[in-house]
């Protein structure tokens, strides 16, 4: 057996950290606050929904250093091996003093009680890094994962708009240190498997398969946006825990002339650019998945592998005819995504097997697409009803319909009766009206705090009407 490393190494603000006494379930937030007394990072919810604990994590991505906002409350320390953690305490201006983002927040009166403020500053800092002159839409997206209960956000928008006038990213101290940090992080990667405190960080994908073969009951942790809550909310044991976020091969996203192949470890944010290129209609939908921090952490593979009936990617991916690549030491097998979900909490995943990638075939000519999400609050909310539509129209006739829903059943599921109501019918309002009626027989949804069964059913039907209005009526009007 190869030599294992029994310590986690990372950079925290300006200094290296080596941890040997660490448990798999230890969170970054507790580490910062309890072990290091870096109390600028706050706990508001411990579930990744309020953003008071927002910090930046820098990591080497194909050799380049990228910084992203994450929720420290659900980020496990073990997943930080080879990363650079930047907290509010590390922010400073080019000449010392306040950072432009901090100064802009002060000038705009962007804080009242101040408890959410460090997290908001970190999110605005990350925004300013790549968009110093942001549009209001960019500001909204950057703040999707940050709650403020006092200000009503207006002054925070003003601060976000003003920060770029007070300083440019080129002069940012963090950028000046980039070469040094890159070298330091690169030096931390020694290619060894890491094992300590119930946490295992495999060397590569082969080693991951090996670890799973050795520990078939292991908890696989990629972005931890779900597993994090098993610890912070349910106090569940997660060991042995296999951390895979550092496996860059699993994070690759590739666009060929046939398909978009998404490595299961790719975060929503990493997928975004190529997804928007291959399936432009999906971008607004993508931005309604969780908040920015969670999109930086959470992975497409995790969203699928967890088998949640309200995961946001399965309905839209099923509509596209997505395939999964499942891997184990025995090899790779392919499964249609829609067949992967067997029942509530039950997926077609064998012992020792993991989701390696999801493959989305590119759209054929003549296929009309849509992705819909309906939730109580527009952003950063869990779906009440989600739907993916792929409707092929040839010479005015619907020749194929693949329409899948989330939130309507125990698993993400195709609306077979509604599809049947459409197929072979003219591409016309009446056909979609018939499908809207048929979908009522496809599903018997539940009532919970997100939505009642009646509402879900009505919305599901109305989404067929919406599809027609957007794709059909609009086209008719254009012609």
């Amino acid at each position: 057996m190869a030599q294992h490393r029994n310590e986690i190494r990372f950079l925290l603000n300006g200094a290296p950290v080596v941890l040997r006494d660490l448990q798999a379930q230890d969170t970054l937030l507790d580490y910062l606050r309890l072990e290091r007394r870096l109390t600028g990072t706050k706990e508001g919810c411990a579930e990744g929904d309020c953003g008071a604990c927002t910090v930046l994590v820098g990591r080497l991505c194909e050799g380049a250093l990228v910084y992203e906002t994450v929720n420290a409350c659900i980020r496990f320390v073990a997943s930080l091996d080879g990363c650079h953690v930047v907290t509010i305490e590390h922010l400073r201006g080019a000449e010392g003093g306040l950072h432009p983002v901090q100064q802009a927040m002060v000038d705009a009166h962007g804080s009242q009680c101040g408890f959410c403020t460090p997290g908001i500053v970190m999110s605005l800092y990350a925004l300013w890094m790549h968009a110093p002159e942001p549009t209001d839409e960019q500001i909204e997206v950057a703040l999707q994962g940050n709650l403020c209960r006092c200000t009503g956000y207006e002054p925070i928008f003003k601060a976000a708009r003003a920060a770029g006038t007070l300083g440019k990213p080129e002069a940012d101290p963090l950028l000046a240190e980039r070469a040094m940090v890159t070298a330091a992080l690169a030096a931390m990667h020694d290619g060894q498997r890491v094992a300590l405190g119930g946490a295992i960080l495999p060397t590569d994908v082969e080693d991951f398969a090996q670890v799973l073969a050795e520990n078939p009951d292991a908890t696989i942790i990629a972005g931890a946006t779900d597993v994090g809550l098993w610890v912070t909310k349910m106090m569940k044991s997660i060991t042995p825990a296999v951390f895979i976020g550092h496996l860059s091969v699993l994070r690759r996203v590739m666009l060929t002339d046939r398909a978009l192949r998404i490595g299961a470890g790719a975060s929503y944010s990493e997928v975004e650019a190529l997804l928007a290129q291959a399936f432009p209609y999906m971008l607004p939908y993508w931005h309604r998945i969780a908040g920015w921090q969670v999109r930086n952490m959470g992975t497409v593979g995790g969203n699928i592998a967890n088998g949640s009936p309200i995961g946001d990617t399965p309905p839209v991916f099923i509509a596209l005819g997505a395939k999964l690549h499942l891997r184990s030491t025995a090899g790779v097998r392919e499964v249609l995504l829609e067949e992967f979900f067997i029942d509530y909490g039950k997926q077609d995943l064998r012992a020792g097997e993991f989701v390696e990638a999801v493959e989305l075939p590119l759209a054929e000519a003549g296929v009309l697409h849509a992705a819909y999400k309906v939730s109580k609050r527009r952003d950063e909310d869990i779906t009440a009803v989600a739907a993916g539509f792929a409707v092929k129209v040839e010479r005015g006739v619907i020749t194929r319909a693949r329409i899948a829903f989330g939130g309507m059943a125990a698993t993400p599921k195709r609306a077979r009766l509604a599809e049947a109501a459409l197929e072979g019918q003219p591409f016309a309002e009446a056909s979609f009206e018939a499908a809207a009626k048929a979908v009522g027989d496809d599903f018997a949804p539940l009532t919970d705090w997100r939505a009642s069964a009646e509402y879900r059913s009505l919305v599901a039907a109305n989404l067929f009407r919406r599809f027609w209005l957007e794709q059909g009526a609009a086209r008719e009007a254009a012609e």
Partner: protein, 765 residues
């Protein structure tokens, strides 16, 4: 130099943005600090037969447990001393999530894990969760109801050309302060204990802790530097946490901290009251109200807490801005098997105001009028039609001017016409607009609360330290008070320091609540300044003769008898001359009185006014919506600090909008609150802010009463401006049936309620 009326930034702004502002959990823990955690009921109502904590006590890191048997004093944390809110229940469990015991361990994580191991033997009893269920099951009121009556309702109704009788359901609201509850208790000698506590009401925490410990109040000191938000949720709800921390600290003689997680915080502490309101309104052909009758039943939860004054305030505001010639309003503060509801910004007022606005809608749709015309027709008059249902005369009415100005600057009439035209042709997206006013009474209706103290020291180097009874929760109270003090002495703001609120500095403080923080504490601080200034004038006269009687304090200088002294030099000389440079200031609000039994008096010193115009677009296929634009014109009298006041108005508007839109509390049929964290309870996000949001203060306004610098309170009144969004949603909903029916939206108007209301209207059309 800093003066009142200037845009001085929040005194902690730099600390906020750098993460160096300390909240209670950020205070360095003394060595040996232990951590307490609550174990809670998983039954909504039942008889507590036995509580087996053996596994809890045996768990790793556990030092011990606290149960009702460990309480040295009185087992009650009721804010109104009703003896209905035990620290831990002994016989009956009254709601799902009720704390049953506490466990104390070496770390918070171990305490939290251990708490899960308790075995509670509870014999389940039937429960009532909602107000209507409770009324149907004959549940009692948790506190005495109130009746307000004026005129002759029967006659008024009989005379009215039109009468409408209907009901409205109004949801509650969680405070969702970003910093949850927390207390750190440090034991001292004798009976002493010092608490750092996130609370709006340090004196109450002190009184309750003393009561639970069975010691005099002078043994307990409560301190709070700042809160990460309060909104009313820390007016009484800290009592339990402070008591548990203090009990544990005294029992084991070590510092003990308690901090519930967000889920426990939301499940075990009270919220805004839900209301079920039955109303009847009689009106004439012009839409003028002849008579109103309303029963306001509230989900109070298992105990009284502040439900009495909250439901009272709902009645006090059931008129909003409108004159009711004949009126009878009654409250039903219903007991339910849910957490005991409490104060929340507006304190029942918003639930009253929204019913007044519902009645306006009823009239407008019944008569086919613009609701703004109905509002206008019913505004309180000046010199006539000016008496409220509680017999106070509205003397400071500025509604006409305020609403008129907003109507004009927002181009309301034209936009409304455009919207109606747009809706006639738009298939899926319907728009709505509404312009709503608010009139809000300022003063605690518990008259004795309208007092405040301040302690002011001028040190011999000229620096100034102020303590006052108010607490800082983000509203900028300390900044405003520092401005008042700096202006009084004519010195720079940097010379004035305000730190922790502490019960050993200023005693017997009132809650920082009812929007009263600056009104009360600002005046008390000013009183302290005036006392010292009088002594300094006396000193100057003594030193330099009578020509120094009119000593002036300006620009960092003391001017007397033609001479000019630097402030610090002057103070140094005053010290050498043995002048007392410390003073305790005091203030009590004049003119107010209230006879609750008769339902008559002048409970409010004055009113604050505001108006908002909101425009929304609604997706008729899903019920989802967006606030396209909101314009606010709000009255803060002569502002002490316009940017801070504007911040309060903006924040309150969004919070009020959240209450009425996406913030939905949802209990399952076992009585468990299932929306108990931000993952399930949805407060507004940045992207929910109106796309265009224009907030202005009515700069021409000044308080006719002699308040601090003629300013007005600002914390709560603008919360009700969010009602304009709710009414605009109603307008859009009504469009699907040609505006022929009152949309009768219940609150919160989630996308689901909006869609279902449109379906109902289409069905009934």
């Amino acid at each position: 130099m800093s003066k009142t009326g200037e845009n001085t930034r929040h005194d902690s702004a730099i600390k906020h943005v750098t993460g160096r502002a300390d909240y209670t959990d950020d205070i360095a823990e003394p060595a040996g600090t232990l951590h307490a955690y609550l174990g809670c009921s998983k039954v909504a109502h039942g008889t507590l037969k036995a509580l087996d904590l053996s596994a809890v006590e045996a768990a790793e890191g556990v030092v011990g447990v606290l149960t009702a048997a460990d309480i040295p004093g009185v087992n009650d944390v009721s804010a109104v001393h009703a003896h209905d809110e035990p620290v831990f229940p002994t016989e009956t469990v009254q709601f799902y999530g009720q704390p049953l015991f506490a466990v104390v361990a070496t770390t918070r994580d171990l305490a939290r894990r251990a708490a899960e191991l308790a075995v509670a033997d509870i014999e389940v009893l039937p429960h009532a969760l909602t107000t209507r269920e409770a009324m149907a099951q004959g549940y009692p009121d948790v506190t005495a109801p109130l009746k307000l009556e004026r005129g002759d309702v029967a006659q008024g109704m009989a005379r009215a050309k039109h009468r409408i009788k209907a009901a409205m359901e109004i949801g509650g609201q969680d405070h969702m302060y970003l910093e949850g509850h927390i207390s750190l208790a440090i034991p001292g000698e004798d009976d002493d204990v010092v608490l750092h506590c996130s609370t709006q009401h340090p004196t109450e925490a002190q009184v309750i802790v003393a009561q639970v410990l069975g010691v005099p109040a002078n043994a307990v000191v409560v301190k709070v530097r700042r809160m990460g938000g309060g909104f009313g949720g820390k007016e009484s709800q800290m009592n339990l946490f402070a008591s548990v921390a203090a009990m544990a600290a005294k029992k084991w003689n070590v510092p003990v901290k308690i901090r519930p997680d967000r889920d426990q915080d939301m499940s075990a502490t009270g919220k805004r009251h839900d209301f079920s309101v039955d109303y009847e309104v009689g009106f004439d052909a012009d839409g003028r109200i002849e008579a109103v009758e309303g029963q306001f039943a509230a989900r109070c939860g298992f105990a009284a807490d502040l439900s009495g004054p909250v439901t009272d305030r709902a009645l006090f505001h059931a008129d909003n801005a409108y004159y009711y010639p004949n009126v009878r309003l009654t409250s039903r503060p219903m007991k339910t098997n849910t957490v005991s509801n409490t104060a929340f910004r507006g304190f029942g007022g918003p639930q009253g105001v929204i019913v007044a606005e519902r009645m306006v809608e009823e009239i407008a749709y019944a008569l086919g009028k613009d609701p703004l015309d109905v509002r206008r027709a019913n505004f309180y008059g000046i010199g006539a039609r000016d008496v409220t249902p509680y017999h106070q005369t509205v003397e400071d009415n500025i509604l006409e001017r305020l609403v008129g100005e907003l109507e004009e600057t927002t181009d309301y009439r034209k936009r409304r016409a455009d919207i109606i035209a747009h809706n006639a042709t738009s298939a899926t997206v319907k728009r709505g607009i509404a312009l709503t006013p608010v009139k809000f009474g300022i003063s605690f209706t518990a008259t004795w609360y309208n007092q405040a103290g301040a302690l002011l020291h001028v040190y011999k180097d000229g620096s100034i330290m102020v303590n006052h009874g108010g607490t800082e929760m983000g509203q900028g109270l300390n900044t405003k008070i520092a401005q008042i003090v700096a202006e009084a002495f004519g010195v720079d703001l940097s010379l004035v320091k305000i730190t922790k609120t502490a019960t050993d500095k200023v005693p017997n403080t009132s809650a920082t609540a009812a929007s009263s923080g600056t009104d009360l504490n600002g005046m008390a601080a000013l009183d302290a300044c005036e006392q010292i200034k009088a002594r300094l004038a006396g000193f100057a006269t003594e030193r330099w003769g009578d020509m120094c009687k009119d000593v002036q304090f300006v620009g960092g200088k003391v001017l007397c008898g033609g001479a000019e002294h630097a402030w610090a030099d002057f103070i140094g000389q005053a010290y050498m001359a043995r002048v007392q440079l410390s003073a305790a200031g005091f203030y009590k609000t004049p003119k107010i009185h209230w006879d609750r039994d008769k339902g008559q008096g002048r409970p409010f010193y004055y009113y604050a006014y505001g108006a908002a115009c909101s425009e929304v677009s609604v997706d008729t296929l899903t019920g989802e919506y967006r606030v396209e634009r909101a314009d606010v014109l709000h009255d803060v009298g002569r502002s002490l600090n316009p940017v801070l006041d504007k911040g309060q108005v903006e924040g309150a508007f969004i919070q009020g909008m959240g209450w009425l839109t996406t913030e939905e509390l949802w209990w399952d049929n076992k009585g468990q609150l299932r929306t108990h964290a931000p993952s399930t309870y949805k407060i507004p996000l940045a992207s929910d802010k109106p796309r265009e949001f224009n907030v202005r203060l009515a700069e021409w306004s000044e308080n006719p009463e002699r308040t601090i610098k003629r300013s007005k309170a600002v914390g709560e009144p603008p919360f009700m401006l969010g009602i304009s969004v709710f009414e605009a949603l109603g307008h859009a909903v009504a469009s699907v049936a040609g505006y022929a029916q009152c949309p009768r939206l219940d609150a919160p108007a989630t996308p689901e309620r909006v869609l279902m209301a449109m379906e109902r209207l289409k069905r009934d059309a």
